[in-house]
């Protein structure tokens, strides 16, 4: 049986990929659109999602996914973001390669901590739960930006994801 949290994180990866594909159809000007109350531009929000997910996974795995990590202040192109989505996808699978996550394992530090920054100890469940929350929160903001500017939005709910996987479907009754 697939770990439920793994499925949840895979849904996030799937949604990121869909959103990235949608963003590739936008012009450079459209990628710089934003609305008040959201994180920032579409491009920056997408980069923030992926950079943060890398951060959570680095903390959980205890090692860098690759060098250099995606930094939010970089003006990342969609190609750069896409390359990092691949790292996130791979890291999610590695995280569960040996079975379920031990939620109470204390993580003492992160390899991404900058010099002079405070060190936080935390149980493994915290960055895992934040991974799920954070992606949905900011993808919703991109959806809001697209919709506000009259651009086509995506259905990134779990229902279409499950339909794609064949895990949810219309039941055909034998008659």
């Amino acid at each position: 049986m697939t770990d439920f949290l793994l499925r949840q994180m895979r849904h996030g990866v799937w949604a990121n990929e869909k959103l990235l594909d949608r963003c590739r159809a936008l012009t450079d000007e459209q990628l710089e659109l934003t609305v008040p109350g959201t994180y920032g531009t579409i491009r920056n929000t997408l980069a923030h999602i992926v950079a943060s997910e890398e951060g959570y996974l680095v903390r959980l795995l205890g090692s860098l996914l690759h060098e250099p990590p995606l930094r939010e202040q970089d003006l990342a192109t969609l190609d750069v973001i896409a390359a990092h989505v691949v790292h996130v996808t791979s890291a999610v699978e590695r995280l569960f390669a040996k079975g379920s996550l031990d939620p109470d394992r204390v993580i003492a530090d992160t390899p991404l901590r900058r010099a002079g920054a405070p060190r936080f100890e935390m149980a493994a469940w915290a960055p895992a739960a934040q991974f799920v929350y954070h992606g949905i929160d900011h993808r919703s903001q991109i959806d809001t930006i697209l919709s506000t500017h009259g651009l086509e939005t995506l259905d990134l709910q779990v229902w279409p994801y499950a339909m794609e996987l064949g895990a949810s479907r219309e039941a055909k009754e034998d008659r």
Partner: protein
């Protein structure tokens, strides 16, 4: 191994609903009619939709409607919504702990599983809470911190307040 990560995801969901609803209950009533382009609707409508959606998902999972049914056409008090969200939040945690994620359920002519409905419940709450904070932020208002980091701090089980 203690409480599972999924359990924490669902506890965060219940906590975030409560925190957001109580934050909004402290606003002046007119604020509940605020809206922002590209979101679900008014702040009140969004809160009601979050709770009504969760009530619907629990009905799919258990066959039970917890609390008085939330209908789009009836305005409920925020205290009512807080009470219903407490029931549905707790039940979701119970279902995740005791039901089989692969159990097939058939709402109408569709067929899905317990795990998929729970995943959608988490997605739905997070997505629409983001709408609520966008509405507040777009009107220059303070927004509640409802991320998992803050949930951990509020419950004394995490000290990180990062993003």
């Amino acid at each position: 191994m203690g409480v599972s990560p999924l359990d924490h995801v669902l506890r965060h969901n219940a906590w975030a609903n409560k925190t957001l609803l109580e934050f909004c209950a402290a606003l002046e009533p007119a604020a509940l009619d605020l809206s922002a382009a590209g979101t679900y609707g008014t702040l009140y409508g969004t809160l009601q939709h979050i709770v009504g959606g969760e009530q619907f998902y629990i009905r799919l999972l258990t066959g039970e409607v917890l609390g008085t049914p939330v209908r789009k056409t009836e305005r409920r008090t925020l205290d009512d919504l807080v009470a219903i969200a407490a029931l549905t939040g707790a039940r979701a945690i119970d279902v995740a702990a005791n039901d089989d994620a692969a159990r097939v359920i058939s709402p109408g002519e569709d067929q899905t599983t317990v795990g998929i409905v729970l995943a959608q419940l988490v997605h739905h709450g997070n997505e629409h809470r983001a709408h609520a904070t966008t509405i507040l932020g777009s009107h220059g208002r303070k927004t509640p911190k409802i991320g998992a980091w803050t949930y951990g701090i509020a419950n004394g089980i995490s000290r990180n307040d990062g993003d």
